[in-house]
């Protein structure tokens, strides 16, 4: 292979190379790392952030931002949990409520996510306020709503079928991992093989061009944020099931981790560029980093510093890559 072609390959798939190198390095550094158990553990750990980052990727490709994911996750989690408590638990939030099948809390979580996202999208599309502001407002309000709903208390002791979503296994694979992989696939199809997906790229790449080409920009914006909200709701369901409780303080700053994963995955904040594959690998890189540094016994404080540097480094490399083209 000639040098130019190699360079282009590295440019295009750079983040995947980084991931592979990280995995190789970690497996030499720690014998435990490469075990199937540990690897599944890594994916399970990133599944919540990963789910959020899928929606955030669509948002950022459209040149927007979503700061509300963590709070929306919390609202969805506490509402879902309140509908999914075991019948025999003494401190039920709704003592009268019979034990419901898991589909009810699940639908509740999804609906709440969808509504919060749609509100974000509608505000942005109809009033024209910046996405940063609209979702900042939602971030603060939704957190308040979660506290209000639970009166600041955790909602615990969930039914077995509810917990299964966070703790169960199918064929030895954790259910959260299956849900995450499934949503990766769904979102990939959405972004690459539907009109909606093309419109997202168009809106982020050049909103005026999208408008004059007859793309309904407003409706698509609402759909983008609604989808991001839906995924945050789903993440809330998964997280509450995993820890067997819905807490109003859940998911604080998760939106930032999700944005980090998306960004490491090569999605450009100037809009129009980004892939689901990138978001997936970006989340895995964060996961491998956490896991690996833990295995190596690096202190949590250092981990944060390293994580922060990697986020900035990823964007610097990305900018250079894009600058060279021009």
């Amino acid at each position: 292979m000639n040098v130019a072609a190699t360079k282009r390959m590295i440019g295009k798939y750079g983040i995947y190379f980084v991931f592979v190198i990280m995995v190789i390095a970690m497996s030499f550094a720690s014998p435990v790392f490469l075990s199937a158990r540990n690897l599944l553990n890594v994916v399970r750990q990133v599944s919540v952030i990963g789910l959020i980052s899928l929606g955030v990727t669509l948002v950022i490709i459209s040149k927007g931002i979503d700061l509300s994911s963590g709070s929306v996750l919390a609202v969805a989690a506490v509402v879902a949990a309140s509908l999914g408590q075991s019948g025999d638990w003494h401190a039920k939030m709704f003592p009268e409520l019979p034990q419901l099948p898991v589909i009810f809390p699940l639908l509740a979580a999804l609906t709440i996510g969808l509504i919060c996202g749609a509100i974000n999208g509608t505000l942005i599309a109809k009033t024209g306020i910046p996405a940063f502001i609209a979702t900042l407002g939602m971030m603060v309000s939704a957190r308040g709503l979660a506290l209000l709903y639970t009166d600041g208390r955790p909602v615990s002791s969930l039914t077995e079928s509810y917990r299964y979503i966070g703790q169960g296994y199918i064929l030895g694979i954790p259910v959260p991992v299956i849900i995450y992989l499934f949503m990766v696939f769904v979102t990939w199809v959405l972004l690459n093989h539907t009109k909606f997906g093309k419109s997202i790229y168009a809106i982020g790449g050049n909103i005026h061009a999208a408008e004059v080409s007859g793309v309904n920009v407003k409706r698509n914006l609402i759909k983008i944020y609604a989808y991001a909200g839906l995924l945050a709701g789903l993440a809330g369901m998964v997280l509450s099931a995993r820890v067997n409780t819905g807490q109003p303080g859940m998911g604080v700053a998760y939106e930032l981790d999700a944005i980090a994963a998306t960004t490491i995955g090569g999605t450009s904040h100037s809009g129009g560029i980004g892939t689901i594959g990138g978001a997936f690998v970006g989340a895995l890189i964060l996961g491998v980093l956490n896991n690996g540094l833990n295995l190596l016994g690096v202190s949590a404080y250092w981990q944060q510093i390293i994580k922060g540097s990697i986020i900035v480094g990823a964007v610097v490399i990305d900018m250079r890559k894009n600058a060279k083209k021009n």
Binding site: H193, N206, E211, G214
Partner: protein, 512 residues
């Protein structure tokens, strides 16, 4: 039936907050014709077209399309009705492919899930490009194309709607003359299919070459519609500006002094090579060539935006080393960039701020604060000298017309008191009235002893203004022609590479 109109826009009025952009305007278009819409910038052409394509709703008036009264709420509606538009501003989505750009918003779909049929999209694009004789891969990213090719894709896109009316707003501004011919062929083809074309351009020769009818607007008012053969250039211009225009190219003969700038064998690897020329005091050197010939790149290198691979630059006989715009400014070079919107104006700032921003150091008082009084005085002075039409220097520059914005930019550079002034397409997208004023200004500057390099794609401008013309073709300089020996034909011969000078000896130029 042949006289039946496909489109009648009657009594169209459009009021924006504080401005009446259109006042009872009329436009009637017959199928199978090219109908040109003429007027100075700000006359309301674009607004009228934006109403037709559904971007703005009209305040008042009726649109009759194919014999039926219609309302066009949005672009989608217009496109579905059979009206498409090539927009004046290039609007590609750079990171996506050609085919995704063309079929955006109407991608072919298959299956019950509504998934996109990429293969069909590819085939359709291939066919479309082949029809228009564009040899491009549908999967190529838009961002990798030249500006001219992007424009051709925009044209292909507008054609692909298979519309009955195609609006073309300045379609040739980024095209080379070969591609312009290509476009005219496409237009001819569309005409033969019975489609109507509404054509907007500032280039007079184009208008008279392809128009069947011409409608003139002035200051939002309807002036009249005329068969093209009833008008000539002078008549049309006087209809547009409402007065007889002063000379278009007020070239003043002035003393050409000693050599100020000398460029020797300037080369940027892979872009252009061995470019040598001199500019004297009080001289205007025109820089001609087709889009993509390397003209902008040469002056960008001269100004330190690009790094040269080899070659030397001398100012007043002294060798200078220019590696950044800062160095260039220090050596008293000023550059008026080609793209006013992106690299020129600060749209949100006032005329005043836009004027002084390159020379702000001059206004810092001893206490490190700005001397606002002096800033105001200077701005008022330049506003008068440049004849900038603005109610006040506190006006945001984005509210000024293109021509007046350009005058402010020239003022900005004049404040730095440059010896060498480089103008890249100084009158692009500027209407005729303001154009002649800017030409006046350039002449005046030359008379003051400035050395001027002017890049322009408009041959009449090059011929009318330059003392000498340097022509480039594909990164090489093919000739330097004196004013007296210059005509359109000779320049085109150099610019298309059919004639060039051998061995860098430009005294003995001849045909290859």
């Amino acid at each position: 039936m042949a006289q039946q109109y496909i489109l009648e826009m009657r009594d169209i009025t459009k009021v924006f907050p504080g401005v009446k952009a259109l006042d009872n305007v009329k436009l009637c278009v017959k199928p199978g014709t090219v109908h040109s819409l003429m007027g100075e910038n700000g006359a309301g052409k674009s607004t009228l077209m934006k109403i037709l394509i559904g971007i703005h709703p009209p305040t008042d008036g009726t649109i009759i399309y194919k014999g039926r009264k219609v309302t066009i709420e949005n672009t989608n509606r217009a496109l579905n009705m059979g009206i498409s538009m090539i927009h004046q501003e290039l609007s590609p989505i750079l990171h996506r492919s050609i085919m995704e750009n063309i079929w955006l918003g109407r991608e072919p779909i298959r299956g019950p899930l509504g998934l996109i049929n990429h293969r069909k999209m590819y085939d359709m694009t291939k066919l479309l490009l082949k029809d228009l004789e564009l040899d491009l891969d549908p999967r190529e990213k838009m961002g990798n194309l030249t500006v001219a090719k992007m424009q051709m894709i925009e044209i292909a896109k507008a054609v692909s709607y298979n519309s009955d009316i195609v609006i073309m707003d300045e379609p040739t501004s980024a095209l080379t003359s070969r591609e312009v011919e290509h476009l005219f062929k496409i237009i001819e083809e569309l005409k033969n299919q019975g489609k109507a074309i509404i054509y907007i351009s500032h280039k007079m020769d184009e208008i008279f070459r392809i128009s069947d009818e011409i409608t003139v607007l002035r200051d939002g008012q309807y002036i009249g519609s005329y068969p093209a053969e009833e008008l000539d250039q002078n008549k049309l211009i006087s209809l547009m500006v409402g007065r007889e225009l002063n000379e278009m190219f007020p070239k003043v003969k002035c003393e050409v002094g000693e050599v100020r700038l000398e460029v020797k064998n300037l080369t940027v690897e892979g872009v252009f090579r061995e470019v040598s020329f001199t500019v004297r005091r009080g001289e205007i050197l025109g820089l001609a060539g087709l889009v993509g010939a390397g003209r902008t790149e040469v002056i960008e290198t001269l100004f330190g935006i690009r790094n040269k691979t080899s070659g030397e630059v001398y100012i007043d006989g002294k060798k200078v080393d220019i590696n950044s715009p800062k160095d260039a400014i220090k050596n008293k070079i000023a550059l008026l960039t080609e793209d006013r919107r992106h690299t020129g104006i600060f749209p949100m700032l006032t005329v005043k701020d836009n004027t002084v921003i390159a020379n702000i150091n001059k206004y810092i008082k001893k206490n490190r604060l700005l001397n606002h009084r002096l800033i105001r005085e200077d701005c008022e002075e330049y506003k008068r000298a440049m004849r900038v039409k603005t109610p006040s220097i506190e006006q945001k520059i984005q509210n000024l017309s293109g021509g007046n914005q350009q005058k402010v930019l020239i003022a900005r550079w004049m404040l730095t008191d440059p010896d060498i002034l480089i103008l890249d397409e100084p009158t692009r997208g500027i209407d005729v009235g303001a154009k002649s004023e800017i030409h006046c200004l350039i002449s005046k500057l030359a008379r003051q002893g400035k050395s001027i390099i002017m890049v322009s794609s408009e041959l009449p401008e090059i011929l009318g203004m330059s003392d000498r013309v340097m022509v480039m073709y594909e990164g090489r300089m093919t000739g330097i022609v004196e004013r007296g020996d210059c005509d359109q034909e000779i320049i085109m011969k150099y610019a298309t590479g059919s004639m060039s000078c051998k061995g860098g000896n430009f005294n003995e130029c001849g045909c290859n």
